[in-house]
Symmetry: C2
Amino acid sequence: MSLNEENISLSTPVKTLKNIQTEVKSSGNIAVSVDCVIFGFDENKLKVLLIRSDLKKYRGKWSLLGDLIKTSEDLDQAAHRVLKERTGLTNVFLEQVHGFGSVTRHPAGRVITIAYCSLLNINHYKLKILDNEVHWHHVKNATELAFDHQEIFDICYKWLQKRIQEHPLGFNLLPQKFSLRELQNLYEAILDVKLDRRNFRKKFFAMNFLTDLDEMEQDVPHRPGKLYEFNFKKYKLQKKNWVGIDF
Amino acid sequence: MSLNEENISLSTPVKTLKNIQTEVKSSGNIAVSVDCVIFGFDENKLKVLLIRSDLKKYRGKWSLLGDLIKTSEDLDQAAHRVLKERTGLTNVFLEQVHGFGSVTRHPAGRVITIAYCSLLNINHYKLKILDNEVHWHHVKNATELAFDHQEIFDICYKWLQKRIQEHPLGFNLLPQKFSLRELQNLYEAILDVKLDRRNFRKKFFAMNFLTDLDEMEQDVPHRPGKLYEFNFKKYKLQKKNWVGIDF
DNA sequence: AACAAATGTGTGTATTTTACACATTAAACT
DNA sequence: AGTTTAATGTGTAAAATACACACATTTGTT
């Protein structure tokens, strides 16, 4: 059997714009939201920003930060808006992860949500938690979330673990200047593994994306390490196209 | 500065279910659709199933197969429904890839779409293209699609190229029994590279997920190769957790 | 019987990954 | 000031993996 690229058609009737507008409107009883899994790194632990559920049914439970999207904004814009409203930050790392659309996922009706991951440098001078119902949680304590937010969180966390090994996202969680120890702590916290210090350093030096700032850590209770910054420009230029089969 | 896990709250007012229902309803002027990028493999080429746009504005252009989702179905269900309606097939490989929500992406109003990738074995005995406006296109000829479908297709194609190197998806595009040559052709077609035959075979044999069926290809105009099948069970058991930093 | 076109197989080399130990530095403590 | 503590900084050998590469074998075709 062979696929046929040359089928001649019986035809579906061509629809006018008006036809479709009618369909679109009559299907419009579905709401769409974004939910942000906002990660931060502090005290060598990976943290996630959660808010107390504002819904009676889930009273006492924690949930992700989200909101219904407005008709006038893109998905990404909506996610950035949520971030801005909750943390005061703009220009933060944000990436879409997955859409969740189970019919029964929201008690108030049909709400499809698009999950985003965001990575914040918690030392950012502008960061302010604008709502005191919002708290940072160690990821290990992020359990029993409201709605289907546990599932969303779990998937986003796994996404982060995988993604950070392939793309230099992690630097968004650190101050611009960081020591290699901080970087390694970050990886160890996110991946939940112990890594060999010498091999870790070798690896990153070999990549050649770290700029040695010729500065030292300050106010550490031990021998200070050198500070580096990540050279995103150089990275973008050299990004390689990996080919290798590896299940 | 240190993150504070112990904030005490000023508080947001708790909302009742009714409050939220009202919000959800009033925001319900957004429609949601799924669009399927359906890949097939034939004549050593990667193909994609496209339909002529049913919208006047895009008359003559090709577009992905999609539909508005119904209030009563999950996202995944909707995608499976589209597949069934278009190809007659159930139980096919299907995975969500990305949501697209630009405000202006659809001329008939605000429609957010969730893109899915599907991989079909085109030799599947049940496959029937039910609508003759539907055609298989070599992926290289999938250009200038209607709506934002070019962007969606491009992203899904890249997704496939990456995904197939990390997960054994490709077998969904082949008959259950296949030769190593067919397998290599598949990889070469999807990744658009030439691979070394000996290393390719070594690689797959080393993985140890191919079952030698002790059967030979039939009706080939040259020395027939052995037939294998992929052992999904064994794969699932042995799936490894990769740790390696590699940008 | 000769030819065409593919299958099937192994080795040496380069590269990458891993395991592993000791001297050095600066701050903190006495 | 000297000692202690806790981290930084550095290299090498062994193992595993990836890569380049050529020839004999099998089957169908002429």
